[in-house]
């Protein structure tokens, strides 16, 4: 497609975004092939506890003698999958609610936006804790909880875009032709409303990873899978004697989230028509 090439040329202009993308690809690669190259079960107690990084344990071992590197690599899978799936679900739901509210306006808009506001007013992390606590903590419930607290911002944004577009002449022309609402929403307006949504949902992946880490840190995540937040939680008790145990996964979260944010910024610059030069 011709659009993709132009898009890449614009994206490339932002150096920080390109660096972010490189880091992000590295994290994704580590998540995919890392556990294959370093085939150690992160729950196996394979050495003395609380070891400093060494030739045998590249990043040391935790309080139970588990390999931190293995945990980091397996945790990358969990963090990325939870982050991406939660964002996709939240984006899809937010798009649906926002599009319907923005396009139809009136009473439909009122009802949908009051629901959205309800979710927006509750601190999202607290809400996520409540949802996970009610249901059994598992990958599915954690992902659902994060999606449930993330969609309102997408809905708000999409609603604004749809309100801005719905009375444009090209939409009126479609109505004058007798086009069905569903087609106007999906085929005509949605592609025009999508660019800012892509930016927001890419940034949402970072927030979702942080939320998941927070939940695991508090022990509110799936006990059967390892994740970065869980690793920090494990290291918390020995923070004063073995700081690296928390610092390593902590820095990994920081770097990943930062990379996603840089990519999001780059997407924003590349997709924002106001910044495009003629």
């Amino acid at each position: 497609m011709m659009g993709l090439l132009v898009f890449w040329r614009r994206f490339r202009r932002n150096r920080a975004a390109v660096a972010g993308l490189a880091v992000l690809l590295l994290v994704v690669a580590a998540a995919i092939i890392g556990p294959v190259l370093h085939p150690i079960d992160p729950f196996d107690m394979i050495g003395r506890p609380t070891q400093l990084p060494s030739a045998r344990f590249l990043l040391g071992t935790d309080v139970s003698g588990r390999d931190i590197l293995a945990g980091l690599l397996h945790g990358a899978r969990v963090s990325l999958v939870v982050g991406i799936v939660a964002s996709l679900v939240a984006t899809a739901f937010g798009l649906l609610v926002g599009a319907v509210a923005g396009y139809y306006g009136g009473a439909v808009d009122n009802v949908l936006m009051r629901c959205t506001d309800f979710f927006l007013t509750i601190p999202s992390f607290v809400l996520a804790i409540v949802i996970v606590a009610i249901f059994q903590p598992s990958i599915v419930t954690v992902t659902s909880a994060i999606a449930a607290v993330s969609w309102p911002s997408v809905a708000r944004l999409v609603r604004g875009e749809f309100i801005a577009q719905r009375d444009r002449d090209y939409v009126r022309a479609c109505r004058a032709l007798g086009m069905k609402d569903r087609e106007i929403i999906l085929r005509q307006i949605l592609p025009n409303a999508l660019p800012p949504v892509i930016v927001v949902s890419s940034l949402m992946v970072a927030t979702a990873i942080l939320t998941e880490s927070g939940l695991s840190f508090l022990g509110l995540s799936d006990p059967d899978v390892i994740s970065w937040g869980y690793q920090i939680g494990v290291g918390r008790t020995v923070l004063r004697v073995a700081w690296w145990m928390s610092a390593i996964p902590g820095i990994t979260i920081l770097v990943t989230v930062l990379a996603i944010n840089l990519v999001g910024e780059g997407l924003n610059d590349a997709l924002n028509p106001r910044l495009q030069q003629r």
Binding site: D169, Y170, A173, A176, L177, G178, Q188, P191
Partner: protein, 338 residues
Amino acid sequence: MTAPAAATPVLEAQDLAKRFPVAGGIGGRGRVVHALNGVSLSVAAGETLAVVGESGCGKSTLANCLTGLMAPSAGSLLLQGEDAALMLRREPMRFRRRVQIVFQDPYASLNPRRTIGDTVGDALRIHGLAARRERRGRVGQLLAEVGLAEEHLDRYPHELSGGQRQRVAIARALAVEPVVVVCDEPVSALDVSIQAQVINLLRDIQRRRGVAYLFISHNLALVRHIARRIAVMYLGEVVEIGTAEALGRRMLHPYSRALFAAAPAIGRPSHDPPHLDPGRPPPLSGDVPSPIDPPPGCRFHTRCPHARPRCSAEAPALRLVDDRLVRCHFAEEIAGHG
């Protein structure tokens, strides 16, 4: 379907009114914009009726009501003798196929993310007018009819000039073979040298297809050249309506006269500023009043140079004076003056 007799209007508005509630601040409740008030007009098959007025006169609301994009608050709309409101409810696609619209700004009226072929093809697809395999060829024919080439099929709107985009918008309207097309300021966003091209195109299409136009414009000089009949609107009302010939000879309503006098024109005897030209009425003072609280009596009396006490007390009716309808108590007297 048989062609209607020449005298039968294809589209007829009877006493059309449109009021909007004003969403607004504290104390703004219950306020209403009177965008259209008692508008009656009709277009016959193959004819052009021009509606002229300035911003706030209600011409865009009129376009929305006539094309079924907005439901009027009162009055009725007849399409080839059938009640349009009923048709829009029961068989909307029948209405949509017969009444189409071309907008002012060709930059806004085409979806920037769809190709020209998609945009025109949508019209055919929605109405089932061409099977998928024939669609591309049919769109090509339509583009040819508006003076574009096959190569434009796969282009995006931003790759075309303003004039070319307006041609695409016209092709989209024509795709469903409508009997009447509402043209809402179709050339005012275009360069002067392109405007005549588009007007000529619209005229050629009318000759070929016998389509009727309701041509909305702010430009009296232009519509005198292209319309058979002209309606002048002010603050939601028709103030004067008659043949282009009659109105071209002279205008009777003080607003039509002021509108005509205000438009600059090349070759007026002295090329002094209008206010120094003795033969020309002075420019109107003030702005168009708000349609939220239109003035009582004649809506034009606040700016009318001929206003008298009766004008603010009693709303004039649209009545026959000589060869046209005029909404003014003193039309005969004003006509006598000049």
